[in-house]
């Protein structure tokens, strides 16, 4: 726990990144609807949810790298207080990789197969080759690449997946961006390598003061490194707050069921896992009220009719549920 919970922008403490009321539309359906969150320097904020919840689209919207089919409606994205949505594409290009960077799930696919590790990491520095080399070597060492003097001249195919992810992190962070967006950074990696990369991300957040937005589907990853978390369902934030508080006492039925659906190393083997009946509604069929109502054991007519707002349920812990006090 590095900093006090700060789900909304407190006046005395400016976040590195703030997303206000983000709305993303596909064919008129709000696949991301009213998403609000902020991240401070040195903090790890996780966006967690199952496929199609909008977590990855939110990340791409922050980078202004949305697919053509997705249009941004309402919403404002602020980087150190500057409204990114107002920037031209040319200005935005100077922001990406320098003030805000992104790493992806498939490091091998995200790296250029035809250029060396050194060239790719140096690209973000904007320095001439000769000067960049020293900086690159330092950065490779910082992300835990052994023998950087040899690795710097190698190509991605010569490296393992874990090593490629370290290279991607090095190239994302060498320009000292204020914010790093990490989109499922360890999903394609084995658990022993995942543990190494998560340790690295946490260390970099603390040492460099980078604000990290971590996109993941894995509650274990959230529990490991996130200071705060926003649980997303069908394009909306269901619940957000301090990681410890949410895991200890979830106040949204979706979060509670999601946590109870996980087999754990501490539960009784073959015990019944909680299931969430039905499936996530398609965007064209989003109901007028709470989007989880169709699958929720607590849902009533009020839930089906009216969208529950995110309400404070105690010390910065917010839940978008009309029955948050009934969640156990």
């Amino acid at each position: 726990m590095l900093l006090a919970p700060a789900p909304f922008v407190p006046a005395l403490f400016a976040p590195a990144l703030a997303v206000h009321d983000l709305n993303l539309l596909i064919d008129g359906a709000a696949v991301v609807d009213g998403v609000d969150f902020a991240v401070a320097s040195g903090e790890v904020m996780a966006l967690v949810g199952e496929s199609g919840c909008g977590k990855s689209l939110t990340a791409h919207a922050i980078m202004r790298l949305l697919p053509d089919a997705v249009r941004q409606g309402r919403g404002r994205i602020e980087l150190d207080g500057e409204n990114l949505s107002a920037l031209s594409e040319r200005q935005m290009r100077r922001v990406r990789g320098r003030r805000i960077s992104m790493i992806f799930q498939e490091p091998q696919a995200a790296l250029d197969p035809l250029s060396t590790v050194g060239a790719q990491v140096a690209e973000a520095t904007g320095l001439p080759r000769s000067q960049a080399r020293e900086a690159v070597l330092r950065m490779l060492a910082e992300v835990g690449i052994s023998d950087p003097a040899r690795r710097i001249d190698q190509y991605p195919f010569e490296l393992s997946g874990g090593m490629c992810q370290r290279v991607m992190i090095a190239s994302a962070l060498i320009a000292r961006p204020a914010v790093l967006i990490a989109d499922e950074p360890t999903t394609a990696l084995d658990v022993t390598i995942q543990a190494q990369i998560l340790d690295l991300l946490r260390r970099l957040a603390v040492e460099r003061g980078t604000a990290i937005v971590l996109i993941t589907h894995d509650m274990g990853v959230v529990a490991d490194i996130a200071d705060r978390v926003a649980v997303m369902y069908a394009g909306r934030i269901a619940e957000t707050g301090d990681t410890a508080a949410i895991f200890a006492a979830p106040r949204h039925p979706y979060t509670a069921l999601l946590l109870a659906a996980l087999p754990r190393l501490t539960d009784v083997p073959r015990s019944r896992l909680a299931v969430i009946e039905g499936r996530v509604p398609a965007p064209a069929e989003f109901p007028p009220g709470c989007r989880f109502a169709g699958r929720c054991p607590l849902a009533d007519d009020h839930c089906r009719a009216e969208v529950p707002p995110l309400r404070d349920v105690g010390s910065g812990h917010l839940s978008a549920c009309w029955h948050s006090e009934a969640v156990r």
Binding site: E50, S51, S146, S160, G162, M163, D190, V191, T192, I193, Q194, A195, Q196, L198, D199, H217, D218, M219, G220, V221, V222, A223, D224, T243, A244, F247, A248, L257, L258, L259, A261, L262, P263, R264, L265, T266, D267, P269, R270, S271, R272, L273, A274, V275, I276, R279
Partner: protein, 320 residues
């Protein structure tokens, strides 16, 4: 006590080596032995490239092994004639990770689930439809679903269809290769509950291949941990998770991120250095020595024997 002929599966010294154009062969599986009793579920865990999926494919006859023996319900698979293999395949079925590629998009669900029964002349017509309806119900689908096509179902439901089809011939052995890895958490729970129910109802033997130690603990009676083509440890579930004997098992368990910040952040870190070596350039001695936190001189030269420590079998000089 069940003799070898009575076990559902006996794998002895199984090896799968792939020849390389230049250089030594890739030893994907390099001498693996274990047996599986009826009623028993054995988890086979390890990281990518350890050979666990190749073991599964060799068992069901999809991958001819370089050496070794695989007996399913007493019948040898390795080197079996096509007719013998066809007979043996009725006794074993496989469920893969990706239900989308496991189903023919042009066959209705009813045709897919009923095909094994039809092809083997077990049922047809109204009797077949009735059997299919029963299988679908057992897998948590509706009998009416028989007329629909795979694309009309979600990923979790498609995995149910694959499971219904695998159960059609009442196999003695079910081989599941990462059956829930492609599914979202809430759906994964449904399929795990289904698998647990089916184990209870049918008592078939199940080999459960997975990289996920929490999932394996949930459904398995015993667990085998594989590293670079060999078993590092094989133990009853509770022994393996409570008292892992092999340093690799310990590191794997320590690396599982638990969905509980209090537990997870209090956990001792057992960082494994480096990465898995290539199975084409196997380390000398113990194949785990390049990453092991307790490597000694002997580990670099002498391959550890497979030995019993407590209720576990373990391949480590220093286990005990």
């Amino acid at each position: 006590m069940s003799g070898p002929g009575h076990d559902a599966l006996v794998v002895a010294d199984l090896a799968v080596h792939y020849p390389a154009r230049n250089g030594p062969p890739v030893r994907a599986v390099d001498g693996v032995s274990f047996a599986l009793a009826r009623n028993e579920t054995l988890g086979l865990v390890g990281e990518s490239g350890c050979g666990k999926s190749t073991v599964a494919r060799a068992i069901v006859g999809l991958q001819p092994p370089t050496r070794g023996s695989v007996k399913v319900d007493g019948a040898e698979i390795v080197g079996a004639s096509r007719a013998a293999l066809r007979a043996a395949r009725a006794r074993m079925q496989m469920v893969f990770q990706d239900p989308v590629t496991s189903l023919n998009p042009r066959m209705t669900v009813g045709e897919a689930v009923g095909e094994p029964l039809l092809v083997r002349g077990i049922a047809r017509g109204a009797a077949l439809r009735e059997r299919v309806a029963g299988l679908l119900t057992e897998a948590g689908l509706r009998p009416e679903d028989a007329g629909r096509y795979p694309h009309q179902f979600s990923g979790g439901q498609r995995q149910r269809i694959v499971i219904a089809r695998a159960l059609a011939l009442r196999p003695a052995l079910l081989v599941c290769d990462e059956p829930v890895s492609a599914l979202d958490v809430s759906v994964r729970a449904q399929i795990l509950n289904l698998l647990v129910d089916l184990q209870r109802a049918h008592g078939m033997a199940c080999l459960f291949v997975s990289h996920d130690l929490a999932v394996v603990r949930h459904v398995c009676d015993r667990v085998a941990v594989m590293y670079l083509g060999r078993l590092a440890e094989l133990a009853p579930r509770d022994a393996l998770y409570a008292e892992p004997r092999h340093p690799y098992t310990r590191a794997l368990l320590a690396a599982v991120p638990e969905p509980d910040p209090v537990v997870q952040r209090a956990k001792p870190r057992v960082p494994l250095v480096g990465e898995i070596p290539s199975p084409a350039h196997m380390p000398s001695g113990c194949r785990f020595h390049t990453r092991c936190p307790m490597t000694q001189a002997i580990c670099r030269t002498v391959e550890p024997e497979w030995r019993q420590v407590g209720s576990s079998l373990v391949a480590c000089h220093f286990a005990g």
